[in-house]
Symmetry: C2
Subunit: 211 residues, 2 copies
DNA sequence: TTGTGTGAATCCCTTCACAGCG
DNA sequence: CGCTGTGAAGGGATTCACACAA
């Protein structure tokens, strides 16, 4: 039970869970670290090491019980509980996220949508009404919001993050291409679409130059 | 001039570039590794080490010329050239990406949109018409597409990736939550929204359990 | 004096190799 | 046997510390 788990380990756990759910759907009963590795794009040793941080879940000579391991991973990843989410920013990215079916399936429930555009406030998305972002401080405690998704322009992102944390939010998923300053006790995950594309063009540029 | 540059280094270069562009807009002339570090969320030593992989761009005692360094980074990241992009999947995520202003600003030009939904084919997004995904093999060579953005469901993603690579695409930005199998010469960048959220709920679950 | 560029030291993650259990 | 769990080894990436140039 080590204290610190690296980010890459957590990401791999997510991959393993997805692979296990596929196997479950396919009716598989048990699975070896080798099989999980090939599905998850890693090595058998890595799979076993990843699990070893949390306990021992396999049977020597027989691998892992698909169903039990999936359940264990869901617990580790915090997918047993329902996470209450507020979406700030009802633009195109916000819209795409709000309807993303995988979110609800994994236990993330978006119970509030906020924006600062008077044209959008009052609009209806499904059965939910877009509220003014000025209500952030009421919404977060009232609805017991755990996570906030920031899908606003860079110029507004830091202010929203600060206010959300102040109001009691426990984690932030940030789509604005900027680094947010929040207390270290509040985890922030950044999704920066520009950086992902730049990583690609960097790779292509180099490969061309070195070939 | 080392051969292999790590992914994290590339990501940091993107951050530095963004910081430099801010400084440029603010009229700053030169900048120290210290200043860049605090804006980029890293350390001064890291900044200097990152640059040292590519050459030496600073003046001892005076830091870096903002404008010249920004230009150098743009070249390194391949932002001098225009990258031609095809978007496959005209759902909500595709729509959000297509209108994402930062893409065009960075030299990524989306010249084709493809989908398999008969209702969508023929629709107009701005001045562009959605084409059938069956035309993928014509579009990629005809329009000299460099990159393809995959924004389709998991069930279709691998097939699209394979066909796109076969047709001559050089890089893939994948939004489907699955690991694509492509030749190792074709760089793939994955954006997996579910994993990002799961990383958050993992962090929150642990912190609660250990506090 | 200031702040870069860089070998050396350190830390962390991955891989190896095998003991041990079913 | 087969395959897990894990200490030890190996490799990369970050950090340190300082010589050196402006």
């Amino acid at each position: 039970m080590s204290r610190t788990i690296s980010d890459s380990t957590v990401r791999r756990l997510s991959h393993y869970l997805r692979a296990l759910e596929d196997l479950e759907a396919g009716g598989a009963d048990s699975v070896s670290s080798d099989q999980l590795a090939s599905r998850g794009g890693t090595t058998a040793a890595q799979v076993r090491k990843d699990f070893s941080h949390f306990g021992s879940f396999g049977k020597r000579g027989h691998g892992y019980q698909v169903c039990a391991l999936a359940s264990t991973l869901r617990t580790l990843l915090g997918l047993d509980s329902v996470w209450r989410v507020a979406l700030v920013g009802a633009g195109r990215i916000g819209a795409a996220l709000y309807r993303y079916p995988a979110f609800k399936a994994r236990g993330y429930e978006c119970t509030a949508i906020l924006d600062n555009d008077p044209e959008k406030i009052g609009q209806r998305w499904g059965d939910r009404v877009i509220q003014s972002v000025t209500e952030l401080e009421q919404v977060i405690p009232d609805q017991a919001i755990d996570l906030v998704i920031i899908a606003v322009p860079v110029s507004a992102a830091q202010e929203i993050a600060g206010r959300a944390v102040q109001a009691g939010v426990r984690g932030v998923l940030n789509f604005a291409p900027t680094r947010l300053r929040v207390p270290s006790s509040v985890p922030v995950t950044n999704v920066n679409l520009v950086i992902e594309l730049e990583a690609l063009s960097f790779a292509l540029t180099r490969e061309g130059g070195e070939a």
